[in-house]
Amino acid sequence: MSRLSYFVRRTAITVGLIFLVASALFFFFRAMPGDYSSLLIQQGMNPEQIAQLRADWGLDEPIYVQYYEYITNLLTGNAGQSFRFSQPVWELVAPRILNSFVLVAPAITATYIVGGLFGAYIGRRRGSPLEKSGIISVSVFHSIPDFFLGIMLIALFSSTLGIFPTSGMLSPATMLQVQDQAYWQRFLLPEFWRHYTLPFMTVLLYFMQYPTLIMRNSVVEVSDQEYLHYHRLKGLPESKLLRKIIRHASLPVITLYPISLAASISGLVLIEVVFNWPGIGQLLVSSVLARDFPVIQFVFLIAATWVIIGNFLVDLLYGVLDPRVSVAGDED
């Protein structure tokens, strides 16, 4: 099988998976107890009004018709209407995705860079006090629930020291000012960065454990490999050996990075809630509380899609980084 047909096949599987997830979400939500439209129905409505409402939303159609509508709408970029805001779901979700991305992508990236380097550093100093305290501290930060870590940081840096604001992305006044400007212009405001620091730190501290421990183990393992000893015998200088160790050892960390990033973009619900960050996680929580099903359903779909695409990218990336992972039957 050539690389191209592997790519095509892998892409088809990815698309199929996303379709399956979309279908499963549709049927799960309709299989749930309670009426799908319960948010719309208000006290004092008479049966005719309710029937009218259900017809308006298409909920009186047989389920396969609803399913067909749902899928064709999704394909044309229509994710439905929010019950709560009577606004297209996509319009509601899109800016939230952007807000989440702005927080999570740099934070997770920084986590993997800092954690990877730190893990490599302590991996090279196996058995040292620094290694032991390093492992313990990253584990402690990951053992604390992330929302509690956030609250502690707020207590320390906002309430006690007063250095950073407690929550939000911008103060409400500034928010009104920048509303009509291009999104990136808020990055120019120092105020944005002061709001940004604490949630960023929370993500960094909480997620440091994965890359640090994986990199540390990986460095320890690679350092003992025969091929490294052979490189040393051949006279490669220490700096070059170190680069080779990092090159080999970072493979598992690089694999984890896109998956972790994809899972986090929609998954940092509690951190967003604690810091009142207007991201997709926060939207999810408020929508669940309001039983705004179309929004919840779509956010879940987005979350699953990120993870599926993340895995897909890892598969492709791995084939490039490690020649041993070849496409099945890819012998010449």
């Binding site: 058995g127 025969e226 091929y227 015998l233 051949k234 006279g235 490669l236 090159r247």
Partner: protein, 347 residues
């Protein structure tokens, strides 16, 4: 008369450890390898064989160090060379290595051609194309198809990787090759091929070899002279014929009797009691004393000095009772043989 290419003189090698009780991996080791000779170094796991190999090419782990003694290559002391000097003058150009476990020694994410280019970069002024061409020639020499030089190691079988490793060892036309267990991971047929091949190098390439192994038969078949090591000390050294016919160190005697011999198929195999010693702290005793049937209190009071074996050239045993060993061993092994056969009868 003798023309040594590599000499070890009273070499000590230590590994520093965190808690300060260093591992004295090699103690007072002395032997010499003559030009154009194949020299076998045998001993059990952990006796310091591979440490010696690493020390010769300056490849000791970061915490290892030659603490005293001299290593001379063609008369030059090389143990204090800087990395740079060593790379420019000795490593791979004069002394190259066939490493232990060839199957895992090639970098799995580099094409073989790139590994050659990388090696050339640190030792020569060859251009990339020249470096690849040279590997191509050597692939032909070791019997690999030259169309495969751009392959990755995992695309090779174990035997092919071994050949590639030999091609790398010959890459800069060295005078001395250190083969650290060159055949351990291979099946017997491949072992035989590789050993034949290595033997062929002697005349074709005018090479001397230090062959490190725990397989005495490999040494017996292929080497001119040898050393036996135990617990970081050289126990006995001499020509292969001398050491086999007139062993004078108890370990060499027992080791020889622990291997089956086609000439005496019915002989009982000797068992060497005890365990390899821990080499933490100062080693100022014979490390074989605790396992030796003939140990005397003096054996534990100082490291033994080499005793020349009368009548042989360059045959030495590091045992204070070397002179009496022949008789002692004859008695002991006879008695042992009868004991064993009584046990056999009861079963």
């Amino acid at each position: 008369m003798t023309d040594p290419i590599l000499e070890f003189e009273d070499v000590d090698i230590r590994y520093r450890t965190e808690k300060g009780n260093d591992v004295h991996a090699v103690n007072d080791a002395s032997f010499s390898i003559n030009r154009h000779d194949y020299f076998g170094l045998v001993g059990e796991s952990g006796c310091g064989k591979s440490t010696i190999a690493d020390a010769i090419v300056g490849g000791l782990d970061a915490n290892g160090e030659v603490t005293s003694g001299t290593i001379r290559y063609k008369g030059e002391e090389i143990q204090d060379y800087s990395e740079k000097e060593f790379n420019r003058n000795v490593r791979w150009k004069e002394i190259s290595v066939i490493p232990q476990s060839s199957m895992n020694s090639l970098d799995p994410v580099m094409k073989l051609s790139n590994q050659a280019v990388e090696m050339a970069k640190y030792h020569t002024d060859l251009t990339k194309t020249e470096a690849v061409d040279r590997l191509r020639e050597l692939f032909e020499v070791v019997g690999l198809s030259e169309s495969r030089i751009h392959d990755y190691p995992h695309q090779f079988s174990g035997g092919m990787q071994q050949r590639a490793i030999i091609a790398f060892a010959l890459y800069l036309r060295p005078s001395l090759i250190i083969a650290d267990e060159p055949t351990t991971a291979l099946d017997v047929i491949m072992q035989d091929q590789i050993i034949d091949y290595i033997n062929g190098l002697k005349d074709d390439w005018d090479i001397s070899m230090l062959m490190i192994t725990h397989d005495i038969s490999v040494v017996f078949e292929n080497c001119d002279s040898m050393a036996v090591m135990h617990g970081g000390q050289v126990a006995e050294t001499g020509s292969v014929v001398d050491v086999f016919d007139r062993p004078r160190h108890p370990y060499a005697i027992l080791l020889q009797n622990a291997f089956p011999d086609v000439r005496f198929p019915d002989r009982e195999l000797a068992v060497i009691d005890g365990h390899p010693p821990q080499l933490r702290g100062e080693v100022d005793f014979c490390t074989f004393a605790d396992r030796c049937p003939w140990a005397k209190p003096e054996c534990r009071e100082g490291a033994p000095d080499p005793q020349a074996v009368a009548g042989d050239d360059d045959h030495q045993a590091w045992c204070i009772r070397a002179d009496e060993m022949e008789e002692l061993a004859a008695d002991h092994l006879d008695r042992n043989a009868t004991e064993e056969s009584i046990l056999e009868g009861e079963r």
